[in-house]
């Protein structure tokens, strides 16, 4: 694959230098490498207007995660996504292949291998890093996911790898090109320093201190995200058996000519499982600079436009979810998001069926409602059928 010079350099480092470094440091019996992944087919139906356009397309997605454990101290991994999309969407969306070809990391590890008006085949490396452990210190370099979020829906503390909630089929989430240094003072605490470079050579750099006190995980963080100074905190704990989590981040823009007010993004998250396995989950998101009017249309399916600072354009968003195993092999659920100001909403019903230990059939809908110009208006309705084989 010709994914550019930078890619070649990284691959060279991982594949060539590492074996040299670890030569002769033979471990014991544990297997030194593993290969995992999956193959899935997602059928998409997008109904923008029930009486007119139904757009149908497919994506066949193969993921490969190759992991290498040369010895106790070293670890390297490469995660590759190969995706073939074909159908009407490719014909309808102008420059769809170029959109898929965008890599928002410092290195360009995404490549469209083939395309015409009917299909796009692309490959993307979203994990490619090396980790070195020296007792309580860990050093990690390369494309990785640095996940500081504690909530299950909205993560104001996740300043390195924000993602779109609606992009449900990309479970692993994108990685970022970064350096991460971690120190573990004790069994349940850590200090992390991370620095990320993106495709514009912009820097996100921050420190996090995480610890456990009074049966709560707590964390404080501070740093720089693009043009903002970020200060944040989060927690994960419990109230009467239920899960109770929260995160908030304050973004202070350093470019005073544009914006002098700070943006506060806060989210709390609560869930409870009943004895009959009925699961309920609620979350709220607050943005002090968000609008109380129509929160507008934006490409909410695309991860790259989303940062911890703009998880919603509204003053507030509310989330609710219920899931229930209707039989041991079938889990049904519905998740919903509501904008209380512009009254637009999203509902996502789903059914997940276990066909075999390694084979799952998944049905899902994404139903958006709202007037033109509202946060969730204008997307129409999407239906998905997914068959996933993991290996």
């Amino acid at each position: 694959m010709l994914l550019g010079r930078k890619y070649c350099i990284i691959v060279f480092l991982i594949m060539v230098l590492l074996p040299i470094v670890t030569w002769g440091q033979d471990g014991k019996k544990a297997k030194k490498w593993s290969l995992d992944g999956y193959l899935k087919n997602l059928q998409n139906t997008w109904i923008e207007d029930f009486d007119n356009n139904w757009i149908i397309w497919n994506s066949i997605n193969n993921r490969l995660d190759f992991k290498w454990y040369p010895n106790n101290k070293m670890y390297a991994t490469i995660g590759i996504r190969n995706q073939l999309q074909f159908g009407q969407l490719i014909q309808v969306v102008p420059d769809y292949d170029k959109m898929l070809d965008n890599d928002y990391g410092f290195f360009d590890l995404t490549k469209v291998i083939g395309n015409n008006d009917n299909y796009v085949l692309f490959s993307n490396i979203d994990r490619l890093y090396f980790k070195y452990t020296a007792n309580k210190i860990e050093f990690q370099i390369g494309r990785q996911r640095i996940n500081w979020g504690r909530n299950l829906v909205w993560n104001p503390n996740d300043i390195f790898n924000s993602f779109s909630y609606f992009d449900f089929d990309y479970e692993e989430r994108p990685g970022s090109d970064a350096v991460l240094l971690q120190y573990y003072p004790n069994y349940t605490s850590s200090i992390q320093l991370a620095c990320k470079l993106d495709h514009n050579n912009d820097v996100t750099m921050a420190a996090l201190y995480k610890f456990n006190k009074w049966n709560y995980d707590m964390q404080f963080m501070g740093g720089v995200m693009l043009e903002d100074i970020v200060l944040g905190a989060g927690w994960a704990g419990q109230i009467a058996g239920s899960g109770f989590r929260g995160e908030f981040s304050c973004f202070i823009n350093t470019d005073n000519s544009i914006d002098t007010t700070a943006t506060l993004i806060a989210s709390i998250d609560w869930d409870y499982t009943f004895k009959n396995s009925l699961y309920i989950h609620a979350s709220a998101l607050y943005n002090n600079n968000g609008t109380t009017g129509n929160a507008g249309f934006r490409p909410i399916f695309i991860n790259e436009d989303i940062t911890a600072k703009n998880l919603t354009l509204s003053r507030a968003s509310l989330f609710g979810q219920v899931t229930y195993p209707v039989s041991p092999l079938v889990t049904a659920g519905i998740a919903s998001i509501f904008n209380p100001y512009d009254l637009s909403a999203f509902a996502g019903p789903s059914v997940d069926i276990s066909l075999r230990d390694d084979l799952y059939l998944f049905f899902m809908g994404q139903i958006f409602t709202g007037a033109a110009g509202t946060e969730y208006g204008g997307y129409g309705t999407l239906f998905y059928i997914r068959l996933k084989w993991s290996f």
Binding site: Y38, G149, G243, F244, P325, P328, D357
Partner: protein, 252 residues
């Protein structure tokens, strides 16, 4: 995924599923010996658990490290979808590490009440396991032979102030090796709810133990849960530091 989580939580909370203590001195001695057999001060094991139903079967395998009943670390090795996830328990707190999204989740207690694919281990069961010592009155009620092994038959009756789900339990402990080879569980009205059997006694590490356990619910024909101990090592002197969030991300 949630279901897998639950089963692991259950396993973590009560790794050896087939032990009890007794209060009556002689009954207690027997049970304590049986208990010590199945669990040292620490252990390291690989386990397969199968849920068997008339029309389907599901399997999960995992590696597990345990110490002093306070700490445990579990790594899922199959099915492929959940492989690599780890669970850490320290005293009363639990965490789940999901490597493919680099997420550390603190598990709230209510998640323990979820069932896994209709497994015949009830969570209440497992959570109450450690209090069986204080919650029951134990007596030897006879001698019987279970698959060729002479056994003490011991009855456990729940104390009035106890909150367990079982009214009484009858368990058979082999006289030679002090192995719990069979247990029957009755509800508070005295109806038999499920039967656990243990077989395939093998030399594992430094001792002989049963390596194949079956749990058969009384009212569901064709249903059972099977637990197989593939490997186990006892008293391995694992350091407390092994049970850490750092190690959750490293064990394999």
């Amino acid at each position: 995924m949630k279901q897998i989580k639950t089963i692991l939580i259950c396993v973590i909370l009560a790794s050896p599923l087939l032990q009890m203590d007794a209060q009556n001195l002689s009954a207690k001695e027997i049970i304590v010996k049986a208990d010590n057999k199945m669990r040292g001060t620490s252990s390291e094991s690989t386990i397969t658990m199968k849920i068997v139903r008339p029309t389907w079967e599901r399997t999960v395998t995992f590696r597990s490290w345990e110490k002093d009943r306070k700490y445990s670390l579990t790594l899922i090795t199959a099915p492929a979808k959940e492989k690599g996830q780890t669970f850490l328990k320290r005293d009363t707190e639990m965490w789940n590490w999901i490597p493919n999204i680099s997420r550390l989740v603190k598990i709230p207690p209510s998640m323990l009440s979820q069932g896994w694919m209709g497994s015949d281990y009830t969570n209440d069961d497992i959570l109450k396991e450690s209090s069986i010592v204080v919650d029951y009155i134990h007596t030897i009620i006879g001698d019987e032979t279970i698959s060729g092994n002479e056994c003490y038959k011991i009855k456990l009756i729940q104390k009035e102030d106890a909150a367990g789900v079982w009214g009484n339990i009858i368990t058979w402990v082999s006289k030679e090796e002090f192995l719990q080879l069979k247990s029957t569980y009755f509800d508070e009205d005295g109806y038999l709810v499920k039967t656990e059997t243990a077989s395939e006694i093998k030399m594992m590490d430094d001792r002989k133990i049963p390596t194949y356990m079956e749990i058969i619910p009384e009212d569901d024909p064709g249903h059972k849960t099977i637990v197989i101990i593939n490997t186990i090592k006892f008293n391995t002197n694992i350091a407390d530091g092994f049970f850490s969030q750092q190690n959750m991300k490293r064990v394999r």
